[in-house]
Amino acid sequence: MQSLYYSLILFLLLTLVAGLWRIRRGPTAADRMLAAQLFGTTATAILLLLAEASTAPALHDVALVLALLAAITVTAFTRRVRGLRSADLGLVDATAGKDAPVGEADGEDSARSRKPLGACAGERREGLARDASPDPASDLASGLSSGSANGSANSAAGGGHAG
Amino acid sequence: MNSVLVFALAGVGLILLGLYALLVQRHLLRKVLAFNVISSGIFLILAGLARRAPGAEPDPVPQAMVLTGIVVAVAATALALAMIQALRTATGRTRLDDDGED
């Protein structure tokens, strides 16, 4: 049983290392982030198998922490590296935010974060549509609302390529 | 060939790579990454030294040192990144260039 565990660990490790190739290849930043996301699942599986192979139940805690935090890096990527694009396109006036008095900005922020979830979702849709339409690079400009565009992406991602 | 020794020697390799990049790269963010790689190499050697007695419990003292060291390294990284940003705000530069001798 021990040797089966170790063989599986080695096998998973090799699939993990092979997946890292995607970080080098890209081509888009999202592809590179995906390879980092690969770590969450595969390393958790490796940790769980290692816990069994070396009878170290403490490794379950390591796997638990990894599973708990697996989404944070990707979230940071989509939230932080996203912001720059709208600034690039001149949609967000970079100087306006800077000149605003500190207290006012804070007040607005806390007011926003108190809004119910539904209101946030609606605002976000508008934000996305506003984001996309003046961008000639995106095919969203062809009058697709952001909602239906989301749907098409999902079906493109979901259709036809069963693993 | 001992597994622990493999990792300790890999630690030496990390120190070499990190030192080289620290000296050669000009972008400050890369220098910060290089610093982190060097410290990872040092941590590897320390944690390897904790495991020299085969089959016995690992030595807790180096492990405790590495444990706190990792957290402190992250804090130092955050400070370095903030300083790079301050430099960029002040001078518009994010790297050390030879030209100008400043």
Binding site: M1, L4, L8, F11, L12, T15, L16, A18, G19, W21, R22, T28, A30, D31, M33, L34, A35, Q37, L38, G40, T41, T42, T44, A45, L48, L49, E52, P57, H60, A63, L64, A67, L68, A70, A71, V74, T75, F77, T78, V81, R82, R85, L128, D131, A132, D135, A137, S138, D139, L140, A149, N150, S152, A153, N154, A156, A157, G158, H161, G163 | -
Partner: protein, 97 residues
């Protein structure tokens, strides 16, 4: 009996991980790769977790394994959605065969 079932599940899980990595490397664009990663790999992890749960010492240990899998499902599903909508916001076009 239980042990052989467990071995079978572990091996099946490894196959799904292989499929996930192959998809990540071979699929043509970020959306399809996302699909390979979030679905195949999490199914693989689920099978491995199930295989290990069959051998767990206690109910609590088995529950912890299941909890880890559920956490990763939530994380992967969200991360996949975020990356896809990021890519779409950037105007990265889905591949059309």
């Amino acid at each position: 009996m239980l042990v052989s079932l467990s071995i079978l599940l572990l091996l099946a899980g490894a196959v799904f991980f292989l499929a996930g990595t192959l998809g990540l490397l071979r699929f043509p664009d970020v959306y399809t790769r996302l699909h390979a990663l979030t679905k195949a790999d999490n199914l693989g992890l689920g099978l491995i977790v199930l295989g290990l749960m069959l051998q767990a010492d206690s109910l609590a240990a088995a529950g912890k394994l299941l909890f880890i899998w559920l956490l990763l499902l939530a994380a992967s599903a969200t991360a996949g959605q975020l990356v896809a909508s990021w890519a779409q916001g950037k105007g990265i076009k889905p591949w059309r065969g």
